[in-house]
Amino acid sequence: MDIFLQQIINGLVQGSVYALVALGYTMVYGILGLINFAHGEVVMAGAMLALSALTALISWGVAPLLALPVSLILAMAGCMLLGFGIERIAYRPLRHAPRLAPLITAIGVSIVLQNLAMMIWGRDYHAFPQLIKNQPHYVGGAIINDIQIIIVIMAVVIMAGLMIVVHRTSLGRAMRAVAENQHAAQLMGVDVNRVISITFMLGSALAAVAGLMVSANYGLAHYYMGFLLGLKAFTAAVLGGIGNLRGAMLGGLLLGLIESLGAGYIGPLTNGFMGSQYQDVFAFFVLIAVLVFRPSGLLGERLAERA
């Protein structure tokens, strides 16, 4: 039982990170119909920026517990700038081009960012300093530590905040209007370019938070870390119904749980015929199954809600 509970906790922690990153994919898709493949690299940039800021602040003698939020804010600011720049330079000139063009640009941006990061931060893995004491807590035989608790709580708070922004503010209304119909929104006096820029910046800020979480949890940052994470989060977004905010959250958590339960139980369930090497296959199998029966994802049909 404690092993089962532990797998649930593992899945929830991993899923929270997927959900945060998936939100970035889904927000951009909701508004532009564009899959921003560079989003994983923004997560990486967030982790790297936070790490650099943290190292600098600590070497200047700032208390670790103060340095952590400050470097998070700096990383968020840096990523917002990055997100703004990506949209402005790589996507805006192609907004009316055929759909394939911005998709290819997105992959290009991803490669450029990866290589830039390799030039700036080098090929080495960077160890993330352990600032929080990371006390383990026992919950019914399973273990959850401080960082993991913070990850889950922060993810929930941020997602709730985002829902409020999208549904309760005038900015959110503008976002929903642009998602619905760009031209009509423009005719109603919505500054479409501004809304799109803000969407990219919001998504990038979430990516920065996710980046910091991942590197604090696993204790490492690397210029390549965004690739797999981006891919998984994209899968999560599709699973939940891309373009739908709640779908991204649901998809993220679900993917995290599927992965950890799959890795833990696929061996015993198939009597050793399939082992944990099928962890990813299992996740993608669920994705295919969902898409066969619900082509627009789990929550995909609520188009009016997308942002």
């Binding site: 990866q114 080495d124 893995y125 139980y265």
Partner: protein, 381 residues
């Protein structure tokens, strides 16, 4: 407009740099010998790949400084470095590229998974290949006359690790995780064979990938089987975070890896979970070999701390050049027999190849992290 002008200027500037070392060497009447080096220079194992490239480069620069004469002509060695991204598909593409470039020999690849498919291309083109680090047994057992390695293979290494775990550490219940690459899987299989033969039980065998960072799910599954020792067949980039997660899950086991984990990077990534971890490295510790200490000092001064295989790359280049000198030719067909029959005192081992191209005496040394440093425990034959 400004951006376009800037782009144009950059392209012109880049085009201006096109004059290569071979042009310069050709101008001064030297014979140019191209040596290829392949390792992952991008991706998760880029830090190891760069280390390999640096080791190869240093050997080539040393050889050029010596002013070696082959076939009555002064020669200039030129390094052509390629990136295989630790990916078997890319490996065959860059291997073909090197063959098209008419290299006289290849140092590489780094991973077993890339070295094995590339070996066929080198063999087809008659190009001698020395891998500094591919340890999978099958690499040299494909029947290619051109494939060599300067490191003990997984059968030797897995055996040493398995015996050490059971005989010296006295564990009975063992769990194994591997990363499903040719290297990780091969080493894990050999380890299991040896541990089994020595009388231990393999209570769990789980899997991950060479790109993962989260192992909590498989570690939790392992925890349910209550092993005394966990062996991971894979590289440092996964092994380090795994050590942390073992500690975070309060999984009370001894933790052991092969050569892929015996790096300074591992200690950095594992943090305070690194202490007590076991790993192996083929060969004898550098400070016990003649010339090893000097190499280490020079390498660190020139590049950065040795990650893992740089000394093996250095040896691989030197043994290749020694064979060329012995045959008095850089023509692969002529120096290949000399390479097969060579006896060379390297900085990692005395290099002599058996019929397959494996090292004749493959030593393996076991290490443990003590006070944040890798300390040699013992060397076994």
């Amino acid at each position: 407009m400004f951006i376009r002008t800037a782009l144009l200027l950059t392209m012109l500037a880049l085009a201006g740099c096109g004059k290569t070392a071979s042009d310069q060497a050709a101008a001064s009447g030297e014979q140019v010998i191209r040596i290829g080096s392949v390792a992952p220079l991008t991706g998760p194992q880029a830090h190891l790949g760069k280390d390999n490239e640096n080791g190869t480069r240093m050997a080539i620069e040393d050889a050029n400084a010596k002013g070696i004469v082959i076939g009555g002509k002064k020669v200039h060695f030129e390094l052509i470095s390629e990136d295989d991204q630790a990916d078997p598909k890319t490996a065959t593409i860059v291997a073909q590229k090197l063959a098209d470039n008419k290299v006289s020999g290849v140092i590489g690849h780094l991973n077993s998974g890339t070295t094995i498919p590339a070996a066929k291309i080198y063999s087809d083109n008659g190009i001698p290949q020395i891998s500094p680090s591919a340890t999978a047994v099958s690499y040299t057992h494909q029947g290619f006359k051109t494939a060599f390695r300067v490191m003990a293979n997984d059968a030797q290494q897995g055996h040493a690790l398995g015996m050490y775990a059971v005989k010296n550490l006295g564990v009975k219940r063992i769990a194994v995780i591997d990363d499903r690459t040719a290297y990780g899987q091969g080493l894990a299989d050999e380890f299991i064979k040896a541990a089994h033969a020595a009388g231990a039980d393999i209570v769990s065998h789980e899997y991950t990938s060479d790109k993962s960072v989260d192992f909590t799910a498989v570690l939790t599954a392992v925890k349910g089987k209550q092993p005394e020792l966990l062996f991971y067949g894979g590289m440092d980039a996964q092994g380090g975070p795994m050590a942390r997660q073992i500690k975070a899950l309060a999984l009370n086991v001894k933790y052991m890896m092969g050569d892929g984990g015996r790096t300074p990077e591992f200690i950095k990534l594992a943090g305070d979970a690194a202490n007590g971890v076991y790993a192996s490295l083929p060969g004898v510790p550098l400070d016990k070999m003649p010339g090893g200490e000097t190499f280490a000092t020079r390498f660190v001064a020139k590049y950065q701390p040795i990650q893992l295989y740089a000394p093996y790359c250095y040896d691989a280049v030197n043994v290749m050049i020694a064979a060329m000198q012995k045959a008095d030719s850089a023509d692969p067909a002529k120096y290949l027999p000399a390479l097969a029959g060579i006896s060379y005192d390297g900085i990692t081992a005395k290099i002599q190849f058996d019929v397959n191209g494996d090292l004749k005496a493959g030593n393996v040394t076991l290490y443990q992290v003590q006070q944040g440093k890798w300390q040699a425990l013992e060397t076994v034959q």
